[in-house]
């Protein structure tokens, strides 16, 4: 199936669903409501060999989309039109084209909610099933099929899904079937309604069917492949007052695939989270273990597409540009991680708190390989066409993938001046995280100062000073940014990142930007250089190429 037929069929299906409704329901538009949003990103590319930025034949590339959603009572239908003419650098060029990539219709009747077409869904924390869209990553694994939700009694929610997943302008070869059940004990049992201890538990199952295929083990043998691969998960959440504890365990049956080097070992994952919060103090502690949990609806796919499950990264997602240079990407083949975060507000009118109080955030996270032992003396660890390895469930592997210790202090000095100071200490295993064996582990320290000074009630100047020091990779970076804003309409910014300490050419990555807001619309323009790097959201990453040129972003909603 080509993208053209898919897009055409999408359009036809949508109108088959919607048009009769428009004809038969009187005043349907009057009684319903339409809402939507639009975003356009475009860049004019210039060549700059000093940073490795290429120009493109098209001169300008664009990604754009619009969501249009119609709601009438308990009926909702919608579509998303996407256009990549052509995809911006860093986005997979298999997105090239325009068309309706997402369309659906949903209605609620009695205790049912039925969706046909595309939908996003998640079972529990997503460790066996989650479909979602993240436009910054060019990631979309939307389902195309049927979803039924059923709420038989108060406190019980059942879900069932069947369908395939989006693969650019097509769908993947695997068919997913699954169900999820969640029970809120306090809602189900009247005597527990007011109990301060709240208990929720649930279970889910998902099964992928993909016909067998001929994948060679060597020149004379091929793999014996399971056509049906199932995964199961169970979860529990208990909360009482200021304390909340949740856990989920997932198990996946044998699933030899390109990501796990075609081993036949089962997969499993465990996620534990405990949190405590009271006024002025929040603590959250998490731990996880992932073992052979790469799960895709196409066994030979190795990129970001067609993920059936989602494996959360237990690391802080940094917002400042230099602290985000080395983001962590979840390692689905195996990792053990912990994270702890404390947020404490020093009370007002104390020595440290001052007049307005002082907020202190402490965060620590670490991810290691899992323990792995060879099956026997003659089989290498993770050798293809075997059970792969054995592993002690509770033992950390020796190889450190990532470690992040950071502290951030936020302080309001007076009615005009506020700011924050941050220190980030990172250990980043480039070879594993970026998949480039041989690259050294990066040890980096990052200092960030962020100061905002309010000139008037609507005008403010925000400055950022950042410095990253490391002896590895590209060595040191320094970054400065000044932003002048006139709320709520305008902002203007100028920034520069400068890479120094290495033997290469000294380069300024400057950027000039401005933005204009008008009610629900916003236009943003920028011109400058963007360094090559990695962008990660929730542990899923994409390579961002170096670029130089003029950029425009337009967003609007209605």
């Amino acid at each position: 199936m080509t993208k053209f037929t898919f897009a055409k069929h999408s359009f036809i299906i949508f109108f088959i669903c919607v048009f009769p409704l428009l004809l038969t329901a009187q005043n349907v538009l009057n009684s319903g409501s339409i809402q939507g949003n639009f975003q356009l990103d475009a860049q004019y590319y210039q060549k700059d060999s000093s940073i490795g930025a290429n120009d493109v034949s098209e001169k300008m590339l664009m990604n754009a989309f619009a969501n249009i959603i119609y709601t009438n009572g308990n009926f909702t239908t919608g579509l998303r039109y996407e256009s990549y003419r052509n995809p911006m650098l860093g986005f997979d060029n298999r997105y090239k084209g325009s068309g309706i990539a997402y369309r659906y219709a949903t209605y609620n009747a009695d205790q049912f909610e039925i969706t046909v077409g595309n939908f996003y869904e998640q079972f529990g924390s997503g460790m066996i099933f989650r479909t979602y869209e993240e436009r910054n990553l060019g990631y979309d694994n939307a389902m195309d099929g049927i979803r039924v939700k059923f709420n038989p009694i108060q406190g019980i929610m059942l879900k069932a899904i069947v369908g395939t997943q989006r693969f650019f302008w097509d769908v993947g070869p695997g068919i997913l079937r699954g169900g999820d059940a969640e029970f809120v004990l306090n809602d189900m049992i009247t005597s527990l309604n007011e109990n301060p201890t709240r208990i929720t538990f649930g279970g889910s199952v998902i099964s992928k069917y993909q016909p067998t295929e001929e994948i060679l083990y060597d020149a004379s043998k091929k793999y014996v492949l399971p056509e049906n691969v199932a995964a199961f998960a169970g979860r529990l959440n208990v909360s009482r007052g200021k304390i909340n504890v949740s856990t989920e365990y997932a198990y996946k049956a044998n699933d030899p695939n390109a990501q796990n080097n075609f081993i036949y070992r089962h997969g499993e994952a465990l996620l534990l989270t405990a949190s405590y919060s009271q006024k002025g103090l929040g603590v959250i502690v998490s731990a996880k273990r992932i073992d052979n949990m790469a799960f895709k609806s196409k066994r030979t796919e190795v990129g970001n597409m067609l993920n059936i499950n989602y494996l959360p990264a237990l690391t802080k997602q940094h917002a400042y540009s230099l602290s985000a240079i080395y983001p962590y990407a979840t390692q689905p083949n195996g990792e053990m991680g912990v994270q702890a975060e404390v947020v404490y507000t020093v009370p007002k009118n104390t020595v440290l708190g001052g007049k307005y109080g002082t907020e202190i955030k402490l965060n620590y996270s670490r991810a290691n390989d899992i323990d792995r032992k060879a099956l026997n003396d003659t089989t290498a660890i993770n050798e293809k066409g075997t059970q792969g390895y054995t592993s002690n469930f509770f033992k950390f592997g020796k190889e450190l993938y990532f470690q992040d210790f950071n502290i951030e202090i936020l302080k309001k000095i007076n009615s005009r001046l506020k700011g924050s100071l941050s220190w980030v200490n990172l250990v980043y295993n480039q070879a594993v995280i970026e998949g480039h064996p041989g690259l050294p582990t990066v040890y980096a320290n990052i200092l960030i100062a962020d100061i905002t000074y309010k000139l008037t009630a609507t005008k403010a100047i925000k400055t950022e000073l950042q410095h990253l020091s490391t002896k590895q990779d590209d060595k040191n970076w320094v970054m400065g940014m000044v932003e002048y804003s006139i709320a709520p309409l305008w902002f203007f910014s100028v920034s520069d990142q400068y890479n120094y300490g290495n033997s290469g050419e000294k380069i300024h990555y400057y950027n000039l930007g401005m933005g204009y807001n008008k009610s629900s619309s916003r236009i943003q323009l920028s011109y400058g250089k963007q360094r090559e790097g990695i962008l990660c959201v929730g542990g899923v990453c994409r390579q961002v190429p170096a670029a130089y040129g003029f950029n425009i972003t337009l967003t609007s909603s209605f």
Binding site: N93, R94, G97, F150, L158, W169, L216, K222, N228, G438
Partner: protein, 272 residues
């Protein structure tokens, strides 16, 4: 209400049953296939600094071992990993103008990656990961050929000039805009290669693209009229060998492709 519970129980039961446990053996011999004369072109986009590329070369060569002359491999050194840089990758430049042009045109950004008969362009699936080469080749192996190719090369080692003819025979009457691409490859070039975290200094580079008659070949048919079955079209070839192509093991590869879809209809290889 009970029937709805039954629906969910049924789905859960189906899902639980929907799992195939493989207890071993995990591999089985590849069965022999009928072959009707269509050879398969594997283009392996690679680079000497690409740490994961040797694994792709193993897959390609396994397929060559399994299928013999029915599979033709061209290793195209292109992109970031193929560019010369610091030692030991500073002395060899295996990139070619044709390889660079193909690499850019087909939009490769990560390596290793390949194309099998260039099928799938431009919509989706022309970029094929090494782990999917087996299946793709296996599926194409039983297709019927539309043309056949005969290569009659003549190489003068003194002038280092390749000449000769390539004849395309039509096995059915078709109306397509076709091009003939002639390629020189060199097998078993010894040079450093990154392999995972190590550098193999005497790595054997197989099926390396060296030169072409033109980046996009030469017109064979214009696609405006039908070309009858049994028609034979012959093109001369003339390619100069560079003086820094040391060693031997040169091959001439010729393939006919549809200029609109870029799909390769037939490929042939002749050792010099």
């Amino acid at each position: 209400m009970k029937k709805f519970h039954f629906i969910y129980l049924f789905i859960a039961l189906v899902a639980f049953q929907s799992c195939n446990k493989i207890d071993g053996p995990y591999t089985t011999p590849v069965p022999a296939k009928e072959w009707y004369g269509k050879r398969i072109l594997i283009e392996d986009y690679t680079g000497h600094k690409c740490p994961n590329c040797p694994a792709a070369a193993v897959v390609a060569n396994d397929l060559k071992t399994l299928y013999g002359d029915k599979v033709v491999i061209i290793s195209v050194h292109a992109g970031f990993f193929a560019a010369p840089s610091v030692s030991p990758f500073d002395t060899n430049d295996f990139t070619t103008t044709a390889g660079d042009a193909w690499n850019q045109f087909f939009g490769f950004q990560s390596y290793p990656v390949g194309m099998i008969n260039r099928v799938g362009f431009p919509t989706l699936s022309h970029k094929i990961d090494k782990d999917a080469w087996n299946t793709t080749v296996s599926n194409m192996m039983t297709e019927l050929p539309e043309v056949d190719i005969t290569i009659t090369p003549s190489y003068n080692p003194v002038t280092r000039k390749l000449s000769g003819q390539v004849t395309t025979k039509f096995l059915k009457t078709i109306k397509r805009k076709l091009k003939l691409q002639i390629v020189v490859t060199q097998d078993s070039v010894i040079a450093p290669q990154q392999n995972a975290s190590a550098v193999i200094t005497d790595y054997v580079h197989r099926h390396m693209l060296r030169a072409v008659n033109d980046n996009w070949g030469k017109d064979l048919t214009d696609g405006t009229t039908f070309t009858s079955i049994d028609t034979k079209l012959t093109q001369d070839m003339s390619i100069d060998f560079k003086t820094n192509w040391f060693g031997k093991n040169f091959n001439v590869v010729a393939f006919v492709y549809d200029d609109n879809t870029k799909e390769v209809l037939q490929v042939a290889e002749k050792e010099l």
